[in-house]
């Protein structure tokens, strides 16, 4: 598959329970590119990831998203996945009674289609080698999906799924949160091994730390549901060193009141010591 993927987001607006979170977002990702989306908490980064994957909680109110020219928004979640989209989730679900290996094989075969199922031997070989790469205990293949996994183990398991499924557009949603530095390096190495001309990445992160290990081609700053600034890797470094305030100042962005402002505390006047 030498086809380079092409993801194009145009004027995307999305809401949760009637509250608009994404407010007109444009982004274009071409084959082989690695884009990082950074931004303060609560600016809609994870909403963007979930909306692209088609989470039922998020409602797209306007705009278009196309993958290789096809309307992504009209596809069901599983169709998006089979079209090549993959989302490594911040909080993956736990599923009792379904082993990691069975789940992965079902997912792989869902892509390959009936009559073209992966042979068991080939599957096991692939799984073992990828798990080794991620320094995962082989036992995890036979544990129930994410059940009782630590935060770090879940993240590694997401990367394992990505490596096994070989998607063409990968979204990593805060894959670095909850990882210690050693685990981060392993996960980053896993991602880097997957970089290819026919695969693109959208990395959503709060910290620049991850980008020391996965070098992005483009860095975007997201604020208030929009991409407000784009640049190269140097932008991420500046954000790490200086925070986000300079971006706000430069672009004249005012903080939205998150909640009704509290009454400032005032010393009560005329207090008297108790007699």
């Amino acid at each position: 598959m030498a086809n380079k993927p092409h993801l194009k987001i145009d004027g995307l607006r999305a809401a949760i329970e009637g509250k608009e979170i994404i407010k007109g977002l444009d982004l274009e990702i071409k084959g082989g590119e690695v884009h990082a989306v950074m931004g303060p908490n609560g600016t809609g980064k994870s909403t963007l990831a979930s909306t692209l994957m088609g989470h039922p909680k998020y409602e797209v109110t306007d705009g278009t998203v196309t993958l290789n020219g096809e309307n992504l928004l009209e596809m069901a979640v599983d169709e998006r996945a089979r079209a090549g989209l993959f989302l490594a989730m911040q909080y993956p679900s736990e599923i009792t009674g379904v082993t990691n290996a069975d789940f992965l094989r079902t997912a792989i075969n869902a892509r390959r289609g009936e009559g073209n199922e992966i042979s068991l031997i080939k599957f096991i070989r692939q799984l073992e080698s990828k798990m080794k790469e991620l320094e995962m205990n082989p036992e995890f293949a036979h544990r129930y999906l994410n059940e009782g996994f630590s935060g770090g183990e879940k993240k590694r398991n997401e990367i394992l799924q990505m490596m096994m499924l070989e998607p063409s557009v990968v979204i990593l949603d805060e894959i670095d949160s909850g990882l210690d530095i050693d685990a981060l390096k392993i996960v980053a190495a896993g991602v880097n091994s997957m970089r290819a001309e026919d695969r693109s990445f959208l990395i959503i992160t709060h910290y620049q730390r991850l980008l020391n290990y996965i070098k992005p081609d483009f860095v975007h700053v997201m604020m208030q549901g929009r991409i407000v600034k784009s640049g190269g890797p140097e932008l991420a470094e500046r954000l790490e060193n200086e925070g986000y305030d300079w971006v706000k100042e430069e672009l004249g962005i005012e903080d939205e009141p998150a909640a009704p402002e509290e009454e400032p505390f005032k010393m009560p006047m005329n207090t008297r010591a108790p007699r």
Partner: protein
Amino acid sequence: MSAPTVLPIDRAAAIELSKAKGEPEWMTELRAEALELAQTLQLPKLEKVKIDRWDVHAYGSYKPAKTIASFDHLPEAVKSLTVDDNVIVQCDSGIVYAKLSEELAAQGVVFTDLESALRTHGELVRKHFMSVVQKDENVLTALHTAIWSGGVFLYVPKNVTVDKPLQALFLTEDGDATFAPHVLIVAEDFASVTYVEHVLSVHPSREAKLTHLGVVETVAKPGAVVNIASIHGLGADMTDLTYRRAVCDRDAKVNFIVGELGTGNGMSDTTAILQGNGSQSDTKVICVGTGEQTLSITTRTIHHGQASDSEMLTRAVMRDSATAIINGITKIEKGATKANGQQAEKVLMLSPSARGDANPILLIDEDDVKAGHAASVGQVSPEQIFYMMSRGITREEATKLIIYGFLAPVVAEVPNTAGLDALQKLIERKLGQ
């Protein structure tokens, strides 16, 4: 007020039948006595289930079974479930095939039909028959005592370990023939055995009903281990009434794996009586409710022994307009110090018109004990579906995986026999996949 029970057989006919079968006198008398009791007793009182509205008294009539000469001549439904070794097959009212390996027979293991055992092991049977379940508990236990036929007697002598599972298959082919097998398992000191049974109907579903009235009694002597897997998949024209009960002596252990996968109404009561100190039990039940059926599923453990230990787990998937009342009862008697009784009931609701009630009940008359319960009733979570779909799995497949996964912790424990595939098929039939 309920009307007096209409007996499926009159006293004279019952006595005549027993004599005709060559049963010992005590059994003939017991049958007659139980039949009289049945007239005075009531149906069991079930939590939130009106069993008196079911067709519980359609017992058909006893029809002698024709022995099948060889394994190859068994009905197809049976052959796929087992291999030609250590197996007993009952069709309708009687045993048609039985085979025990010479090796086990040489060790003194008895695995035969209960009617033959009355002749060959009369004293053993007399001592234990209806000793765990009592004939005078209710009209069903009384009727069972009176009309049982066929059945299995499994006896494992002291210190004998039976490695391979022993299998029994109970089939109803003729909807007018009595189907009331009695299974009696006796494991002597430090004996160990695994028994796997399937209770199935192979006649086409009909308007008229037939009641299966079965009892599985187990006596585990000191240090014995008895594993019992009981898979029921009777059709919609069957009412399935089943008592499974085990009594555990000192340090004995009984494990129940139960699959309630029939499509008609059903009452099942699976009880472990932990009589001896240090005795243990583990009871796992899966159940899939479909159509209009109503199920009353009870798991119960009664602790008498000190430091006795029990676990109970019921997992039910409810579809269509089915109802399941799931009772978990942990009873710890006075004197059972250091006892530990844990139970969990989980219900997965797949349809808004289905009903699944989980009723955990702890009855504790001793202070120095541990007891715990967990009950949950829930639906397939949209987050889980989203997660699986995001990997390319269709909604149908994802739902199926989650439902099977819900049942997996119990299914995984079923002993590996040729019948394991049949369990999968029964589950698939119920889940409509």
